[in-house]
Amino acid sequence: MEIDVAEPERSQAACERCGRPLESTVACLECGALLRTDEEDPFRAFGIERAFEVDAKLLRKKLLKLQRATHPDFFATQGEAEREAAERATSSLNAAFEILSDDLRRADWLVSAQGGPSRDDERQMPQAFLMEVMEWNEVLEEARDGGTGDPNALATLTSDLDAARTTELAGLERDLTPLPAAGDERLRTVRRRLNALRYIDRALGEIGTLTR
């Protein structure tokens, strides 16, 4: 049986000002009250279920809707306290959106939130990945030194990295659905995949600089 990790009371939470049900913990979309302006849980800020899979379009629509309630532009003629609360509320929504809309950052947040190992606790990459990394490093090394040999080496490397990226991302989604509870070994696997993805993105970035 799967355990629903979404906290049930969240969906029933009511606005402390108008009493109507809340879509977000940051602000009430009904009456415009600013509530938990320092919300650190991006899923609660957006009022969506904690899960790896998110609907990008829904997320964007929700951001715009929430910003219409919290943005400092709509508080410009109010007192300093209100203006600051609006800055904080909008900041936390922006931070939440950055996490929710980015696969890697969302996975990173979920691993930590579910009690998995942090980046410092788990520095390994997936075993199968390591052999390839040694080869890739050689190609990169050569390109850094001015690139002798195979002129297509970097192009080949790029497509290899892209393929590896797709594989690891698919793995992230698999390992995080349904969301593992604390102590689940899958959290460690996800952390390792994230380490691999960080390596891939750094390498792709470097190729970008080298070929420009």
Partner: protein, 625 residues
Amino acid sequence: MAYIELDVIQDRTEPVLGIDLGTTNSMAALFVGGKPVVLRPSDHGGVVPSAVFFADDGSTLVGGKARDRAAAEPDRALFSVKRFMGRGLDDVQQDLENVPFRTSAGPNGVIQFHVREETYTPEQISAMILGEVQRLACQALGGEAPKRAVITVPAYFDDTQRQATRTAARLAGLETLRIINEPTAASLAYGLDQRKEGTVVVYDLGGGTFDVSILAIEDGVFRVLSTAGDTHLGGDDFDRVLVQLAKQELAPKISAEDLTDPALTQSLRLAAERCKQELSRSPSAELHVSIADHGVTLRRRVTRDEYEALIGDLIQRTLALCTSALADAKLTPADVDEVVLVGGSTRTPAVRAAVEAAFGRVPHTELNPDEVVALGAAVQGHVLAGGTRDVLLLDVTPLSLGLETMGGAVEKIIHRNSPVPCSAKAGFTTYADNQTGMTFNIVQGERELAEDCRSLGRFELKGIPPMPAGMGRIAVRFAIDADGILQVTAKEETKGATASIEIHPMNGLDDDQVEAMLKASLDNAKEDFEARRVADLLIELGTMLAAVDKNMTAVNERLDPESRLEIEEAAADARALTAKGAARPGVEHAQKIRDRFEQATLPLAAVLMDNVARTALSGKALSDV
């Protein structure tokens, strides 16, 4: 209570100006009757050239008159000061080669311009320009101009440059409700005008700066996806290639020393600007300068092909930045729905052609590229004034922000193109036993080493309780507000000790300095007022003297000797005051002389009135009167 409520209502509806404080031109717009309009007095186009001229008599000219006189007397004029806002002398060496200014480093490394015996910071000069913009707005509105404004800056302005802009507004007596980015402002004006949705690229090439912003417009929300730019790339650089061309041609004719003469530089600059503008309309134009002082005339025909070859590299630099903005937004040119051109320099046909080729579509040019930024700022002003909730601008920070770590590297805390407002935290640990303080260098920029980035200032965290190395945990929080301005706070977390922060601004004025300048400008305002009053009094004395001279002989015998003597004495004083080469009197002294003169001439006036009455009434019966 009723009056309080009324105040609140008035406060809400009080309009907010939108001001484009440009390198070359500035102007104000306001949202009225459902749309933004540029504020123009009936006898004025509304454009204020961003120039200030310091005249002989101590008066200050701002705008068109200042620009016109700058050509003949460049040592008394300041222009393009936006290039120097929030900069240190080291940052602007190249800019200084192209302007005839004398400069020095002022407090906190702020640049100071020397004009005659006075020094002025870029903030003060910008404040004068803002004052003139406000004056025109006031005339156009036929009453008092709004005291609150939205002011635009290049998207690529860093924190110090934004702060300097706020300071300038404060010195001009304006409350800055919001600083917004120029391309974003343009997108607001454009998006509302054309009712467009989708992905829009704003290519903004102004006089001194280049910005490109990529936005998603959806349901009235203008969301900036990415921005890139160069605060040292603009139409002035196009002028410069023509100035260089002119100098090459002149080199055999005049000495190397004369070539660097400020007056010559200024004439060449203006000639280059005319030639550039003509080249936007015609296939060729003449670069024409005649310099009387050096007995040299230059007439050189420049073809558009030749000119376009000269500015090709500059245009390429703008396109490279477009590519980088697209990459940051994770988009390709094919994803772009519309391209909007902003800034006077986009009138250059080569620029239009290059942008069209780069994005594969004809750019929009319906809106006046010189006005669209001010119009957008007025829209934002309307939003901030509480006028509408249908429009919302979501912008990003153009440059990464971080702290210098041990060893001189940069730890980025907020990445470029993060939506604002935003905040982020970073943790540090103490590195020595019983360490009680820690110094941080706040840097802005994309480079890896702190020395390659711009230092925004240093602050010191004091009062860390004594403990072994590595035990003290310090949390530094960066917060960027909706103006794109940074606030930094730091806290020691283990013992929860409160700690104080002192930030030492770089290339920016601190509060005390701004206060001192405000006071000085008030004193100056008093001086200016008095000088004007004295000038008025002297004119009045002149008129009175002329009247006395004209009438004394005619009515001489009808005045008693005592009155005559008094008039003659008072007139002598007045003559001394108004004589050519006389020292400018104080306002009180001038007022006293004038009052005494008026008093003394009362009997004369009475006689004259009597004469007039007699002439008028002659031949009339008393009953007819």
